[in-house]
């Protein structure tokens, strides 16, 4: 079964966001996304300090099969990237919501939750895609 934590926000492009206590936001790809991609072999990460637009390119995840863009769901500045993915991209396959996080951003504007999906709304999206 696809895992779907209830304390995260999601996007239609199968990313997840976690709002950290210090106001930063951690972003990764969902369990559904990693399963669809298959074994990951390379992750291209942004630079720390890089400014990202909402909906702009943030990272590229490459599986044995194909390359897939990861878009930033919000505007912000990169505070930290998950360096361990450079040597071991399969961490994302094993733990997409935990040690497989990709980027931590400092949002440059207030997050508009209406543009993001709740766990229930994301589950509905997955159900529609299955149907």
């Amino acid at each position: 079964m696809i895992e779907l934590p209830g304390d995260l926000l999601y996007t239609e492009e199968h990313e997840w966001l976690r709002r950290e206590d210090d106001g930063s936001v951690t972003i990764g790809i969902t369990d559904h996304a990693q399963a669809a991609l298959g074994d990951l072999v390379y992750v291209e990460l942004p630079e720390v300090g890089q400014e990202l637009d909402s909906g702009g390119d943030m990272a590229v995840v490459e599986s044995v099969k194909a390359a897939s863009d990861v878009y930033s769901p919000i505007a912000g500045v990169v505070e930290e990237v998950n360096e361990s993915l450079a040597d071991d991209p399969e961490i994302i396959n094993g733990d997409p919501y935990g040690s497989g996080w990709i980027v931590r951003l400092r949002p440059s504007e207030k997050i508009n939750e209406d543009e993001l999906l709740s766990p229930i709304a994301y589950q509905e999206l997955l159900d529609e895609e299955d149907a």
Binding site: G38, Y42, E44, V60, E62, V64, K65
Partner: protein
Amino acid sequence: MGLKTPLFASHVAAGAKIVDFGGWDMPLHYGSQKEEHHAVRNTAGVFDVSHMTIVDLNGDRVREFLRYLLANDVARLQTPGKALYSAMLNDNGGVIDDLIVYFMHECWFRLIVNAATRDKDLAWMQKQAHDFSVTVTEVAGTAMLAVQGPKARELASGCVDAKWREAALALPPFTGMQAGQLFIARTGYTGEDGWEIVMPAAAAASTWDQLLAAGVAPCGLGARDTLRLEAAMNLYGTDMDETVSPLEAGMGWTIAWEPREREFIGRASLERKRSDPTLQRFVGLLLEDKGVLRNHQRVVVAGQGEGEITSGGYSPTMERSIALARLPAGQSESAAVDVRGKLLQVRIVPTPFVRNGKIRIKT
């Protein structure tokens, strides 16, 4: 819903992720494409290749016909069961398909061609066969399994009737035999030892189950692609097609130039290309940096021009990215590949990358 092989239910039961492949519902993987890849390199894996097209050619003049139809020369096939890899060319020397031809007996040869090219292959063969009074018959009601890996023959031998087992295990490479209801050939598309087995559709599921019970890993199209890429075996429609000659696709070795008096379709065009110093070369690439090379990426060779990756991907055996590419004529040991706007360094290397479990390129 697409076409289904006799093993569709077996794939679903084994947990396959099913994808469309040339109109067929085929397994992409059964959980991990990389683990399936390693199973074939280290022990044994089985692929359902029942979607491939089997064609029997019959007639008194069938050998003469095939010497005209194919760029390789079936005169090389003198022992029943012996097989040959060949391109089938159009008049311009472009590749209509690549195939394996088996010599069964003097009035009967068997061809195994690609699934996606079935219709045009049959039409082309029928058109050419007319003058030779050769009949072209697609073999229906069969399934085909490719069991590949260093332990493949040993583990698969339990599927062969005891009466035939010793003979089957003694088959030399690129040779096939009928063993009861199975046609067993020591061929494959992975760079490993193994068998390809044609059987009646009704026997497919039980043979599949028997192989899995013997410890052979079910493997999907994903692993099939990374294995064949490491072995530098061409994929039709990707590495070559009707606009490309075998000389520009690393298939020069499959053209039988001798005897010179043998006329085969495409020969005149190939003879001209053969002496063309500007003909593109087909090479292997090894990515020096991190990242993954992909099909259609642009390759820049300093001072020589630009080429294109025809097949690129990740090599699970080498844990590096590798590719096959068509480049401008010339000599060079390195090049750069445009990956999303960044130029990454690649080394031009001899192929295959991997054969019989061993990495052949110095990384």
